[in-house]
Amino acid sequence: MKFSGTNDYISTKDLTIAVNAAITLERPLLVKGEPGTGKTELAKQVASSLGLEIFEWSIKSTTRAQQGLYEYDAVSRLRDSQIGDQNVSDISKYIKKGKIWNSFESKNKSVLLIDEIDKADVEFPNDLLQELDKMEFYVYETGELVQSKNRPIVIITSNNEKELPDAFLRRCFFHYIQFPDHETLSKIIKVHFPDIKKALLDRALTRFFEIRETPGLKKKPSTSEILDWLKLLLVEDIDPVELKNDGKNLLPKLHGALLKNEQDIQLFERIAFMARGDS
């Protein structure tokens, strides 16, 4: 079982190796990188290229580790007991399976995506150590030991908002998705817009990298932003000539897709103002 990128997803060599190492050793893969470089997409593509089912567990700041395993609905059991429901004696009726349980139970090998693990509480990863290491956990309410039939491929993404504990990191493979270079980026774009004209692509990419390299940007536009922007350019049918940087109009057409921060737009306006003063 080897992953090697898909038609819809350009995987760099280092990423491919990291994914394959994680698949072979059956260890979780931790993926970090700038927002919008395709971390979440990776898991989906691994699943689709290997033909596996994917279980997505998106983490929020309120998510607890236990929720991934199972939840015991004590309140509805209490309510049922008051109205004399028959189910009350069967405790397993009140246990809701979480995503991790689902993936452990899956008949075939599956992909388990734990998305944005850094959103959760600092202790969250520690609570999952044993579960991800041994791929088994204990349900206290029923006394059942849940073991994975096929160890799922676990892909974990993080936006670096919190530091992850060492003990957790030791168990993972790690990959940092770097912002793609010009060559890789044009490959990625070709995948998404196969019919794009070369002239437009060249102009757009040049402008994009110019914007990205402007010092002082609060949020640099990334892969997903350029894809959105190109989509808009194609829909509006913009002539490549209009994208040319003439020094006066520093912001290209439809820049709203690229710059999402008011301060960044102001920064460009200031630069443009100064450029006009010079000429």
Partner: protein, 394 residues
């Protein structure tokens, strides 16, 4: 195997443990990668490194430890590594197509093949520039088949690709992410978030599941209990040095300031110049008209505040030591006494210095201020902030 590499990594304080090292060996054992230096680089990076801030140091070590590799001449290798011919033969029979076998035979069998190979290799040594040609032809010649055996891969390695591979770690693309370098405001936020202390304050708002269940079980009816919401209870007092020698660090301090503003709910900040004296101010433009007496600040903010000074602590020693030493006005009380007042009022305190640590020894007053703060001075880097925040939490 690669133990040297592992130890070198530990030496430069990259936190690799035996566990990661073993999993790297496990990967090699299970043939996750083909034997190419570049692939090995990627694999070892994925298994040994767990934080992008260490990648740059990893690159440096990798380049140091494996530096010799590209210098080994092909002839040396071939002479030194005596490949058992029988083994090559067997392996080839397994891997080669009948047509390829025929081709080898047409070249005169394996012995002849090895001879030719050696000859070609030395030929390449002689005209080093034209080396590409040999490699180019190797792809289609029987030597291509040779590539299947592990030693052969090394011999038949495409040199230009190899060079490119070296570049991958020599490029040092991850330099910016090393925490020993300076940091952006986002990274600062993460460092500052260390300083979180959750306490329950304010109105009773959240449902407390545990005690609800307990009291419901006890009473026999649904008895809902609530608890107070969690809040970040840390209170921070920030003193920022402005003007003069601080000008080069304005941007860094600005970033630190904006980061701390968004992290701490209870943040109070004041500006000072060079050293703390009898007045501080909140608006730098009106610093002369709107000074707040330092005594007032000392009396207003209680002991629970964490006190952080940010400044380069670079000035004339007089400005710290003597009354009247301040360079902008006449101060009745010496700067050091004001600093002592501040740190005795706020027991958790520290001084963040934007001057890189290696230059600290060249300025006398940095040492003086650091002594006043009993060594609690940290550089404005991620690891510095980290260390400082840990000290503040005690």
């Amino acid at each position: 195997m690669f133990l040297n590499f592992f130890i070198e990594l530990r030496n430069v304080k990259v936190p690799v443990s035996l566990r990661e090292y073993l999993s790297l060996l496990d990967c090699l054992d299970k043939n996750v990668i083909s034997f190419k230096v570049e692939n090995f680089y990627y694999l070892s990076r994925a298994s040994l490194i767990k934080n992008e801030k260490h990648i740059d140091r990893f690159d440096l070590v990798f380049s140091k430890v494996f530096k010799g590799i590209e210098d080994i001449s092909l002839e040396d290798l071939l002479n030194k590594v005596d490949i058992p011919k029988e083994w090559v033969k067997k392996l080839s029979e397994k891997l080669l197509t009948p047509e390829e076998m025929e081709e080898i035979k047409s070249l005169g069998g394996f012995d002849k093949l090895m001879e030719t190979l050696k000859k070609r290799l030395s030929e390449q040594e002689k005209r080093h520039q034209g080396g590409n040609k040999w490699i180019g032809t190797a792809g289609t010649s029987p030597f291509g088949a040779y590539g299947y055996n592990p030693e052969g891969v090394r011999i038949g390695q495409d040199k230009s690709r190899h060079k490119k591979a070296i570049k991958v770690w020599d490029k040092r693309e991850f330099k910016d992410l090393d925490d020993k370098s300076e940091l952006g405001s986002r990274a600062m936020k993460i460092a500052l978030k260390r300083l979180r202390q959750w306490a329950r304050t304010g109105l009773q708002e959240e449902i407390d599941i545990d005690s609800t269940i307990k009291s419901t079980a006890k009473n026999g009816y649904l008895d809902i209990k609530t608890q107070k919401e969690k809040n970040n209870s840390i209170k921070v007092l920030l003193f920022l040095d402005v003007g003069g020698s601080m000008d080069p660090y304005v941007k860094k301090v600005e970033e630190l300031f904006s980061a701390s503003r968004s992290v701490f709910k209870n943040l109070e900040y004041f500006y000072f110049h060079n050293c703390l004296y009898e007045g501080v101010w909140k608006n730098n433009r009106r610093r002369w008209n709107e000074q707040i007496p330092t005594f007032e600040v000392l009396n207003t903010y209680g002991k629970e505040y964490k006190c952080i000074f940010v400044g380069d602590a670079s000035m004339s020693p007089y400005e710290i030591l003597f009354p009247g030493g301040a360079n902008e006005h006449f101060n009745k009380i010496a700067g050091k006494d004001w600093l002592f007042k501040a740190i005795s009022q706020w027991e958790s305190h520290m001084w963040i210095n934007p001057v890189p640590k290696k230059y600290w020894d060249y300025t006398q007053t940095i040492k003086m201020v650091s002594d006043i703060f009993s060594g609690k001075m940290v550089p404005l880097t991620l690891s510095g902030l980290d260390k400082g925040m840990k000290q503040l939490m005690i």
